[in-house]
């Protein structure tokens, strides 16, 4: 992709880029469709249920049917809602979710954009989704939605900070913000060369903050169904609702891929003698494990309270992530530099 990006923009180039984006969009939609199916199956099995098994073989078409249902549903806009913002919010939630995927590298050669500030780009864009959620909650003119939106704003701001600082250690170790360089810096051959062991503090904080960024259990406060009914998207129906859900699952994809890249060595094999297996397989395995982990904790943990969440974010995660930066920097200064 890189040569394409460096060329001047012509109609031909634009068309090719557009086609790639469309292909990728379908890959992501396919992922979301089966991630939802997978989540429902996994949680179903953990909860003594069978999960979806009626639509198609093994229920494989369940999500397709669900999406189709959402498509043909009536699109309601509350009379007292702010129409323009109400309509913009779902799109605004989805656009950054899809855009961040551009910088994620899958193997040595399979990637879309090779930005040298890839990580920064990811963090900056993903922050925009918060605006969409607050907007959706506000524009609905519903008290529950407003509370959900406000909670989400508070939560995402408090967790964005430790999330960013927790990856500073990784950046220090690899000396680059480019996600491909970060993976390349983990290529020791063995799995202990991956960042999750040397950066275990950063890894733990990153996972906690990432789950919170995703608004998933135990941090699913913006949509806490037992308190706020559905939170910020309570007034949304049909495909607008689907867009919020879609962006949520696209972020699951993005976070799982980012975790793999930053901490789990991307496409590197865990041991030198396993290197005959193609890198994409390793990437997908690690990626799938993170996705499974996110679904797993949903079936395991209760929801944290909103003030405890803030306390955890500002009083625990932030200082610890700063400490991690300090330790990493000190280590590099004392042992590696010379």
């Amino acid at each position: 992709m890189l040569p394409w990006l460096n060329q001047s923009l012509t109609w031909g180039n634009a068309l090719v880029l557009f086609l790639w984006a469309v292909v990728f969009l379908f890959i992501v939609l396919g992922f979301v469709t089966y991630a939802i199916y997978f989540e429902r199956k996994v949680i179903g099995w953990m909860q003594l249920r069978v999960g979806p098994n009626r639509v198609g073989p093994f229920g494989l078409l369940q999500t397709v049917a669900d999406i189709f249902k959402l498509l043909i549903k009536e699109d309601t806009i509350p009379r007292k809602a702010d129409r323009v913002l109400f309509i913009i919010a779902p799109a605004l939630a989805y656009v950054p979710a899809f855009s961040v995927l551009a910088v994620l590298p899958y193997t040595q050669n399979l990637y879309f954009a090779d930005l040298n500030v890839g990580l920064l780009y990811y963090v900056a864009l993903s922050g925009i989704s918060t605006v969409a959620i607050v907007l959706g909650g506000w524009a609905s003119n519903n008290k529950y939605a407003l509370l959900g939106g406000m909670r989400s704003a508070a939560q995402m701001i408090s967790y964005e900070v430790p999330l960013v600082i927790s990856v500073v250690g990784v950046i220090l170790l690899s000396g680059s913000l480019n996600l491909r360089d970060i993976v390349a810096a983990q290529s020791g051959g063995w799995f202990w060369d991956w960042n999750f062991l040397p950066q275990f503090i950063g890894f733990a904080i990153f996972i906690i903050a990432a789950v919170s960024e995703l608004n998933r259990t135990p941090f699913d406060l913006p949509e806490a169904e037992s308190e706020l009914v559905a939170g910020y998207h309570v007034e949304y129906s049909g495909f607008r609702f689907a867009f919020f859900m879609l962006s949520e699952y696209v972020y699951v994809y993005a976070i799982a891929a980012l975790t793999t890249v930053l901490f789990l060595g991307g496409w590197h094999a865990p041991a030198p003698f396993l290197e005959f297996v193609p890198g994409i397989v390793w990437f997908l395995l690690k990626f799938a494990f993170i996705v499974f982990f996110l679904f797993w904790i949903r079936a395991t943990l209760p929801r944290i309270r909103v003030d405890q969440l803030m306390g955890l974010g500002w009083k625990v995660l932030l200082p610890v992530s700063l400490l991690n930066v300090f330790l990493t920097a000190a280590y590099l200064e004392l042992f590696i530099k010379n």
Binding site: L48, K143, P218, V229, R305
Partner: protein, 366 residues
Amino acid sequence: MIRTEELLLNVGPQHPSTHGVFRIIVKLDGEVITEATPVMGYLHRGTEKIAENLNFTQIIPYTDRMDYVSAMTNNYVLVHAVETMMGLEVPQRAEYLRLIVMEMQRVASHLVWWGTYLLDIGAMSPFLYAFRDREIIIDLFNELCGARLTYNYMRVGGVKWDAPQGWLDKVREFIPYMENKLEEYDRLVSGNEIFLARIRGIGQYDAATAIDYGLSGANLRCTGVDFDIRKAEPYSLYSQFEFDVPLGKNGDCYDRYRIRLEEIRQSLRILKQALASFPDGGETMGKVPRAIRPPAGEVYVRIESPRGEIGCHIVSKGKAEPYRLKFRRPSFVNLQILPKLLVGETMTNLITILGGIDIVVGEVDC
């Protein structure tokens, strides 16, 4: 200075965590509640008034529908009141069956509470585990009396059905199973940091307040007041069996949680003893006159339902129908303390506290 307004938020009657059609109007300052007004009556069916036109056997199915999570104890309080009034003898076998189903009902009821409470707190899986285990009890009841929820099992003077063949053995098998599962529950949930952070010190009150508000059941015992009607005024056969009354210290949601789980253990203990001394033969119905006409007068009896003290006050004029029938419903009385507890709490704690009180709206509204 930015001017801020209080937000008037209507929680319920259609809300996932109000356990039915209960409604609270809360005033919120940010997420902090400054005032809470419970609104009830959405499930009011006028049971007590209807009962004035029914004979006593006909009233029994109505009691099923009050606290529909614990129908057996409701059955019992009515038939027990009538029996007390008329001075009827209940055969041993019938009394044993009653005690066994009441204790099984207590287990089932606390399981529903345990599951839904964790669902309120945001953990979904325990709900399904609890219902798996409750299902066994429900199936046993179904085998006994043909209904899964509204049993209509007890009659004035005895019980309607004798235990089918092999039924008691199934109950015997259930006890060790449930004991195992309780340990699993403890492993899964009771030590969870997030869960403990959510319920420790929440909804706290002291013994004097609890007594002032007329609380009963786990809501009272969590403050350390040792009052369980099964011990304090033994009815049925409770005086023959050994069991402990679990008590709390701090009067918070955590204590209520521990007490309810421990009560399941104690119920299993009672069940074990009752099954061991279960009489071999005997009648399931005592000698009851054809028309049940309690003598003119009044009676108030109370028993320990899973939710607290359930009482039945009958005023009779010597007819087949009661002149006045009044149920003291523990859910309704326990709910009184809610507005006081909610002031100063957050929206999230509202759900924790309401769930901790353990109400059944069918009983609140009656």
